[in-house]
């Protein structure tokens, strides 16, 4: 492949949205209320729409006849580069919103920088996506505050979710080889520079939600290298079921 770094860089961004979109999609018909059900599936649809734009671009870079569906559906677990955070299960609505919030704040910051990419395709996708992601961030931030500043039960459950998922936040700011190469070319976002702004914003919302900021300095990583948590295999089994069972099927 001519530009393998760019290809891997695009997958790194897109896989986060694909896997989070799949997790949110699991709530279709299972959300805790009609409005939250619709909201989660709406966000899933936004993310999957963004993913299509990224993968369509990636197929052009690969130029080996693979389609966007091949990229989404036919890779093995080790070939997905999403961060560990987005593959974590829905567990309860607290976990779903904590995962969403911890990703949305990052996603918004990352897209703000990607808008300035010298790669016009990535910049166009970022400009389109950020309008949608600003709604996601508003929604998840509101829920963090409602749950945190809500009842004793909701407070304790959202605090537990934040504490558990905190360990996956640091990985958002790790650079892969593809990241470094793309930053050097002015194409990619230097995620290491987003870290301070990220924790500042996250901590401010947690404070407003009367939640405490976890103090643990123990962080998990691996997703960006294709080393995933035990949840990923089950997620992919679900995601890839149709293509694996009926190869080459089309809608």
């Amino acid at each position: 492949m001519k530009n393998e770094n760019l290809y891997n860089y695009i997958l790194g961004i897109a896989d986060n949205s694909l896997i989070l979109g799949q997790r949110l999609g699991e709530l279709c018909g299972h959300g805790p209320s009609l409005e939250t059900d619709i909201a989660c599936t709406n966000m899933s649809l936004d993310l999957l729409g963004q993913v299509r734009s990224y993968y369509q671009y990636a197929t052009k870079i690969a130029g080996d006849g693979r389609t966007e569906d091949d990229i989404a559906m036919l890779r093995k677990e080790r070939e997905y580069f999403n961060v560990l955070l987005v593959e974590q299960p829905n567990t309860d609505f607290g976990y779903t919103m904590a995962r969403q919030f911890l990703f949305d704040v990052y996603h918004f910051l990352m897209l703000t920088e990607l808008e300035k990419s010298t790669d016009l395709n990535l910049s166009a996708i970022a400009k389109k996506s950020i309008k949608e992601v600003s709604y996601h961030k508003r929604f998840s931030s509101d829920w963090i505050k409602r749950l945190g500043d809500g009842t004793e039960e909701s407070h304790s459950r959202i605090q537990t979710a934040i504490n558990d998922l905190w360990t996956y936040t640091d990985e958002l700011f790790h650079q892969t080889e593809a990241d470094k190469a793309m930053v050097a070319e002015g194409v990619g976002v230097d995620v290491t520079k987003l870290k301070d702004a990220y924790y500042e914003e996250v901590n401010a919302v947690l404070e407003e939600a009367t939640l405490s900021v976890p103090e643990s300095k123990y962080f998990q990583k691996g997703g960006k290298q294709g080393i995933h948590t035990e949840h990923m295999g089950y997620l992919l089994a679900d995601l890839q079921y149709m293509q694996r069972t009926y190869p080459n099927m089309e809608w």
């Binding site: 409005e35 939250t36 619709i38 909201a39 709406n42 966000m43 649809l45 936004d46 993310l47 999957l48 729409g49 963004q50 299509r52 734009s53 016009l120 910049s123 166009a124 996708i125 400009k127 389109k128 996506s129 309008k131 949608e132 709604y135 508003r138 929604f139």
Partner: protein, 166 residues
Amino acid sequence: MTTTEQHINPKLVKVLESISDPEIPVLSIMDMGVVRSAVIENDIVKIEITPTYSGCPAMDVIGDDIKRAMQKAGYIAEVDLILHPAWTTDWITPRGRKALEDYGIAAPLDEEADKSVLLEGKQLVKCPQCGSANTKMISQFGSTACKAQFQCNDCQEPFDYFKCLK
């Protein structure tokens, strides 16, 4: 606000205005502002459309509808999806806004009103049924990706609000 020129061949306007948004049938794709260019090159009509939301499932249908309508009008059409510049609710025409309101969907707010909604959380969305500004948001996400759910505090009617995208 994003301003961009639309390059639409006048010969094609009528055909394009006859195609409606599959999710909001009262609105033509022209009033929606999703058609960014329509030109005739060597007897082939080339049309560029842009999605309202990235995941909008209507885009495939709109592409097919355009090809079908153009064929009826005697043209062969190619449809391309473009992302840049990104669609904004400012591109909905005044006629489109009126059609939305008549259909029972509150039209996106103008720039000034929208800012206060975004920054201070004040609700200035007017009820499309009774016109009251005393409304509340039920959910930021509605029946399609582009809409939010509201309810009027005066007439109690729930209604869709077409979300602003700037």
